[in-house]
Amino acid sequence: MIRFENVTKVYDQKARPALDAINLEIDRGEFAFLVGASGSGKSTFLRLVLKEDRATSGAVYVAGQNVAKISSWRVPRLRRGIGVVFQDFRLLPQKNVFANVAFAMQVIGKSRSVIRDTVPEVLKTVGLEGKEHRMPHELSGGEQQRVAIARAVVNRPGILLADEPTGNLDPTTSMGIMGVLDKINQNGTTVVMATHDDDIVNEMRKRVVELKNGVVIRDEARALYTSMIPVVGQSRRLKDASGRETPDAGLPGNAAEGEAQR
């Protein structure tokens, strides 16, 4: 579904590349975690899939199409096949839940009757039935993220990209969100999720792709957040939402300064 062939992305000629000759394939219907420190290239990876940026060299294939060969007026069609969820939800504050989800259908010209049928169905999938008329500020963070997920999948994209979707949420709520993403994945949508949340990765036991300095250093099926193979690096302590300090095996390398505080 997503294939990177020798992809390099350079933002600044003087700095090291954000992605350095990446080869990666994510199959249809797969669920993959993208882990790694800040600046390891996770966001760049997602941006290249969306054609927000162009790869400096190499080829990115999405749904069998080389995105570099998609003309600019066809980019919207590419993006209709990809749902995106962010850490900060990005809901429209002056629209209620129903309208936020419906917005994604309105802008691509879906008819009113289709919207009326589809939106409640999708809201049910993400567990928000009965909350159609709430405004975003009347919802909890977890519920807001569910709205964002509903909006991302309402047009039935083949791929769902999630950029730290649980970054603003407590562990319990995060697990709820993961349940929703898993359900969407079960329905056949390919899910790629960039995350720092070790608990979730460890819990889900899905494929893990670890990036470091723009290079894939690990690609394991049914893996944990950190490698089973010990990597030399400083260990650190993570604090979860209950305030309990949990010893952590530590990220490889000098990972994630300051990002452990959630």
């Binding site: 969306l50 919207p76 993006r79 209709r80 429209l92 917005f103 802008v107 691509i108 991302a152």
Partner: protein, 304 residues
Amino acid sequence: MRLAFILSEIGSGLRRNLSMVVSVILVTFVSLTFVGAAGMLQMQINQMKGYWYDKVQVAIFLCSDGSTAPGCASGPVTPEQQQGLNALLESPAVAQYINDFQFESKDEAYKHFKDQFSNSPIVDSVTPDQLPASFRINMKDPEKYQIISETFSSQPGVETVIDQRQLLERLFSVMNGASLVAVGIAGVMIVCAILLIATTIRLSAFSRRRETGIMRLVGASKTVIQLPFILEGVIAAVIGAALASGTLWAVAQFFLGDYMSRQYPDTAFISSGQTLILAPALLVLGGSLAGISSLLTLRRYLRV
């Protein structure tokens, strides 16, 4: 559905940005009023040309008692000289250039003078003797004045040959100057309007960057994203153009039609109906200015 969506986006954009939209309306209104005023002046000039050039003639003034011109050295025109001029005017060499001519005697000249200056005290101090007799010539082609002038200036008994058109040309050049000034002001105002529209669209795009960001992500087409912004500018400018057209119509109807034509009954003023020809031009001009400047602004400030 998509149309309804775009319309609702335009509506919310106009509401949110109301003060800027009002200023765009006013600036386009003022600038297009000046453009239209220049157009109206040109129409007025053409109208007066058409009206006057039919009536205006070349006048050959004949020598009278007080004439000092070199051709009048022998004193006032004699009946023989007058006969000779008449014959020359009827000769084929000259007749081919003129439609017709009449002789205006001193008494007729006095009568016309009295009519023309009926409001002025000067009438009382003028006697028929002081006014020269003349031949009034209606030219086939007013541009051929030079031929008549050359033929008759040197004839005995002729004081001077005057092309009345030249008097009008002076008036027209004043009006042309005024319309140039109007075009100049309009130019500056149009630059203002373009910059203001660009700023307004930029603000509008900025205040709605959340929506446009989401639209991009869910795959809305470029048209759906940009059209509301462009139409916002175009609608504001078209309202301004409509106001300008209305103002020009009102000026023609009430100022020229009611006031000026009562003051100057023998001048042909343009009718208010004629100004309506300007309206579509102003609407198109306003709309396309706004459209183009919005489009250029969006290319810089709204990534799609």
